[in-house]
């Protein structure tokens, strides 16, 4: 089974990297770009588990390892195959 974990900065946390990209794009002739926020994601291949077992494990992994819960939030998506 394949899973995707998306990690983004919380809405209330400044994203200077995203802001820099937005300004750069505006300066390159794209005034339509109002804002950019950057995040990361993880494609995880899981073996020998069904979705009911995988989801709680992934939520734990996302919270403990893949994200910093002080400033980031995450979303787990399971892809059946």
């Amino acid at each position: 089974m394949k899973a995707l974990v998306y990690v983004t900065l919380k809405k209330t946390v400044l994203d200077p990297q995203g802001a820099t990209i937005a300004r750069a794009l505006q300066g390159m002739g794209h005034p339509e770009i109002a804002s950019v926020r950057q995040g990361k994601f993880f494609e995880i291949e899981i073996e020998g588990m069904d979705a009911a077992q995988a989801r709680p494990m992934l939520e734990r992994i996302a919270e403990d390892v893949l994200s910093n819960p002080v400033i980031e939030e995450f979303r787990v998506e399971l892809l059946q195959d």
Copy 2:
């Protein structure tokens, strides 16, 4: 309008960071984790453009600015609102 641009390493390119995360998780008692690949994404807010105009602009931006086409591939997703 909001858009998401996902950037991942091409399948043929090694992802040492993802491999390290996978090994760490296996060592932390998650042998079910077969592999991890890391990617990044950009949440982009666009003003004064419809989807027909935004998509080609975003494809150009993704190719020229947000990704390295030698080793990375990207996917553009438009969210209507």
